[in-house]
Symmetry: C2
Subunit: 364 residues, 2 copies
Amino acid sequence: MSGFREFERGHSTWGNLEKVGPMGMSADPSPRPAVTRADVARYAGVSTAVVSYVVNDRPNKVAPATETRVREAIRLLGYRPNGAARALKLGSTEMLGLVIPDSTNPFFAELSHAIEDAANELGYALLLTNSNGSIATERKHVQNLSSRRVDGLLLASVEPHPDLGRFTESGIPAVLLNRNEPLPGSTSIGVDLVQGARTAVEHLIGHDHTDIDLVMGANPVAPIDGREKGWRHTLAERGLPEGVVYRGEFSRRGGYDAGQRLVASRRRPTAVLASSDTQAVGVLRALHEAGLHVPQDIALVSFDASQESEYAWPALTAVRQPIHEMARAAVEKLLKPGESGDEEHTVFPTEMLIRRSCGCTPAP
Amino acid sequence: MSGFREFERGHSTWGNLEKVGPMGMSADPSPRPAVTRADVARYAGVSTAVVSYVVNDRPNKVAPATETRVREAIRLLGYRPNGAARALKLGSTEMLGLVIPDSTNPFFAELSHAIEDAANELGYALLLTNSNGSIATERKHVQNLSSRRVDGLLLASVEPHPDLGRFTESGIPAVLLNRNEPLPGSTSIGVDLVQGARTAVEHLIGHDHTDIDLVMGANPVAPIDGREKGWRHTLAERGLPEGVVYRGEFSRRGGYDAGQRLVASRRRPTAVLASSDTQAVGVLRALHEAGLHVPQDIALVSFDASQESEYAWPALTAVRQPIHEMARAAVEKLLKPGESGDEEHTVFPTEMLIRRSCGCTPAP
DNA sequence: ATGAAAGCGCTAACAC
DNA sequence: GTGTTAGCGCTTTCAT
């Protein structure tokens, strides 16, 4: 037996990489059999444990010479660790799940990109799903991600009260994205929309506007959106007339429709606050089509400050959400609970980016 | 023993879901132990195999009464199949990997969304990664996805000749996205950019333009981009003077820079073809800033026809890539080889969407 | 510093 | 129609 073992474990060339079927028939040639850690171990003349130690640099030390041999075997055989097996053993897939309404929307596109970066940095991959605004689809995705055993869930829900009970019960941490208010029992992050709207309206008032309307997306998450609240309160505080709210989808189209109604209204405002860039872009189109000039005829301020808003004509003055900070915070809440603040709800401040559409800078 | 077995396998209430540590100490209470199929089987008084049959509706038939009992147990215990274990056993993760340069770019945002839909439809989840234009990052992601054992890879590479050898050797199918030409040994899809540019330039010529310049992104994939080729050839064929090429990044910023150079040039064209919407949007800004009117002073046609281009001012006439068809085709090539055409390289036709920027419609 | 071996939770061939 | 069971490839404890 000793001779056999010598052969098996020696450094002899690897004569037959192809595995053979259980019956001795050669296997289907197209998908060649995966190289496992056993192959590597045999080739390098070590045990499978040592291969693990080398691959993971953990938990035992390995002699330099052995390590070299193992690495060489890995390279030569083209070995790739099997993530599924590892996940099963460790109970961790090193994947995060993300559910957003629409990755095509610039705000969510930028947010999800930032989340991917933050997750990657910590060694996690991102399973990305779109709910397309549908509660049913959202639930399906959450369920699916749960079954796939993601190590954490990031959810920009379209439900006012997403029921994560079933989910978190399973021990998977979750954080709610894009939230206005705390939701008891959940971890969430959001932005101070009220203050953001306040700043925007104050700014418009500073430009001597007194008729300031609002183009508002239908926020499925909160009965009264923070942007609407801040706008309304600021107007009231300053003793200005109530503005009118044009409601529509959170999209260019929704903004365009609202803009057309606004243009046609008998009492046209001199300034408009839009609840997202995409809507503002739609409003802009309606205004242009009506031959109205921004900011001369109507001033415009929007939310989000995505790249698109910078290249609108005129460039949009906008309330920026700190997307990267939010993404990082969300991922860290998920992966390092206790390190960052452990509040239920974390609110981020906004920042107003002054560009052309508010009237600060004369048109070129 | 028989009594014990009765108890074990009977329908008695489930007294103690909490597992206990190996030492008899109660386990850390926070992450409660996962419910496995064994728990379900015990609770329902069946074998684990039957639970599998019910969950997968396969491969054996199950008596209706048994099925009901199993489903009830699943519901009550909150059982979720463990994807990692399933993947290990089946050798399939039911996940697809996608690598794109930038999910924030409208074109890739729309493409990846469409791919997600197509994948979902077939029961696959999407692992999304951004290379951010970096070859090193792209390779890292490909390697990582390979290790995670995705069932297929969709790659919009930033390399002219991505080396998928290592990857496909492992038996994972891959398809290259956004490709101009076939790459020997690879499956790829793309659009007929030459024809698209041809159509655009012909259209501009139809508007009596003779000076047609090109704002071109640096295409890392092909030495001469199809758009450039089509533009150049059409100009030559029609006996028109060679236009000038303004090169820059595939971004709003890149288009803006190019636009500024174009505006400042001594021989300003009367029409411009832009190689992407984002660039066209940048050009538009430069033109606006220079007080130039589109299409009166300069006509503009772009590639992609993303939503953003529809809401630019003026709305951009653009060459549309059939994103949904391409996404579906890519996923099917991956998952059902042989069903759809098995060509190495599939080329999709483009379609020109006439809007305002070319001069077809008078400005409102 | 290295190796043997026990599972992680699931599927499906096979036996009944 | 249902049960038994052998792994899938990996990590890690414990022994050497």
